[in-house]
């Protein structure tokens, strides 16, 4: 399995510090999750029902009816590679590494593309192009107009462009969702990150009817659990909460940015849900923070650290103090 953030259990086990003591900043999940009453018992006891209003709520939120609920955008991206014949696949890298892994597993040729290669238009030569917008972990934003041009080029040869918009909800102007359905365009949306409901496992795939239908059949009936459908339907409709978060999260990310800038000389990038520091000391700082029961995400190449938003002022202060101790080590006792 690839490594990701969110593996707190493993760290608790390894370092022996009690779980409740940890400050988990290893994911890009909104720490102020949407709050909800307890789902009614029939959500648990009965098979999920397609006619429960979720489709309508999703259509309103995403601005298109071309939308399919999936058990997390992860489940959709893992199934899509099985739904077409052998392809040359250009995948944003570094980026969310499960995309490339999923296409490789299904026997396709996967070619990593850096953000700057993509920006140069290299992506349109592929049968399938996977773009992450904004990109995780580097926070690169691609302009919708550019992406739409790439989509035209790829689709003209029968190809697909998959845009993973897991982190786009705070900056909806960057989303291609309202342009769906367009031939060959598949947009993946997450509910876990912006709404802070990562444990629910629900997301959406947006795209042309025939593609969504094949994806739905491949995932099989009742793929999304009942409580998640019930909660998501309401979260997607809570436009007041969404508006508040679109102000609050960028502000908190700016605070985090300022804090990190006090401790690192390197450039800091990111989105309103995380900040990434590219530093050669990444592995060392990751381990030192873990010993203070602060978990952050060490990038796969060990060349940077991704910090999720601390949940409150106390969390910020704790991170600040820990980074201060790490930057200025106590004099050796030897």
């Amino acid at each position: 399995m690839l490594k990701h953030g969110g593996n707190l259990g493993e760290m608790v086990h390894r370092l022996g510090l009690p779980e409740a003591d940890w400050l988990d900043l290893s994911t890009g999940i909104n720490p102020h999750g949407w709050e909800f009453p307890t789902p009614p018992p029939q959500c648990w006891y009965r098979l999920p029902d397609r006619q429960d209003g979720l489709a309508e709520a999703a259509a309103a939120y995403y601005g298109t009816e071309a939308v399919l609920p999936v058990p997390g955008s992860q489940a959709a991206l893992a199934m899509l590679p099985w739904l077409r014949g052998h392809a040359r696949v250009g995948v944003t890298a570094p980026g969310y590494a499960e995309h490339g892994a999923a296409w490789s597993r299904a026997g396709h040729d996967v070619i990593p593309l850096s953000a700057s290669q993509l920006a140069g238009g290299a992506g349109t030569a592929f049968d399938v192009l996977v773009v992450i917008n904004p990109n995780n972990p580097d926070g690169t934003y691609f302009e919708p107009q550019t992406l739409l041009e790439w989509r035209t080029a790829v689709a003209s040869r029968g190809g697909w462009m998959i845009v993973d918009e897991a982190f786009v909800d705070t900056t909806p102007a960057y989303s291609l969702a309202p342009y769906c359905p367009l031939p060959g365009l598949i947009v993946l949306r997450s509910v876990g990150k912006f709404f802070g409901l990562a444990g629910m496992r629900i997301g959406f795939a947006l795209g042309p009817d025939n593609l969504l239908q094949r994806l739905e059949e491949a995932l099989g009936p009742w793929s999304v659990n009942g409580p998640a459908r019930w909660v998501a339907r309401q979260a997607l409709a809570d436009t007041g909460w969404q508006a508040r978060m679109r102000t609050r999260l960028p502000a908190e990310a700016e605070h985090l940015h300022a804090l990190l800038a006090r401790h690192f000389d390197q450039r800091i990038v990111g989105t309103p849900l995380f900040r990434t520091v590219l530093t050669p000391r990444a592995a060392e700082v990751h381990e030192a923070l873990a010993r203070e029961a602060i978990l952050v995400r060490l990038l796969d190449r060990q060349d940077g650290l991704r910090f999720g938003l601390p949940p409150d002022e106390a969390g910020l202060a704790r991170l600040d103090a820990a980074l201060r101790r790490i930057s200025t080590p106590e004099p050796s006792r030897a």
Copy 2:
């Protein structure tokens, strides 16, 4: 999409009777679902954690550590066909139709096998053999010793035997779970049916390490939602409740059986979670019951009806009265 039970929303929509008025007997789900307190908020807000004790609870319940949580046995059976090259696949039919559909979708040759063909040993000639034990909807039980012999034959040629044990929990002596892991043997278990928690979407795949690892990678990280993991961990450990249900459900199924025998001359088959009547009047009775807001499962070939357990005496009485009216129609007013 294939048709299944549990599509009450569609019927409510079509017939216009209020949802609360329906008696839904269209699934084989225990109507006395395991009751539980509200899962703690972190189940919803945080990514599911593999080290939450679920694996240990499942190992104790299934009698083997060779067990992988999956987002419903449906998700596992839909992914397995992608994990091997072109195969000739023998699939129990009639049976749960998603098996054959999933193998066909992935490009394999699917050959339907009746329970009597299987009993004659026809299954061992295939690269992959899918057995449903007990079978749904006909309630055929295969002896574990017979299945183990088939497994030996299939595995000796590098094949797989998949045993879907979605309905075995009331009769655990029939399960192959305790024999796992064995080369080529994959057992699929459901939590939805026996525990009555169909909305949660959690099940288990049991099998050899290398196969479970490939399945886990293909499904991707965090495939099972957090609340389902939290609830299932406790349900699997509640041996007192399980013992009570292993007495209660067969008794209720006998009551249902006796009731149906009063209205149908045909042979009645099934398991402790459902009874099936094979009757040429199936489509007509299905529609007549629907007009009384009672939903049962019309078999795909329209040659039978499957009845889930009514939740209480009132439900039994209502079904009885409806079947009486259907069998003895009022004199025509014409």
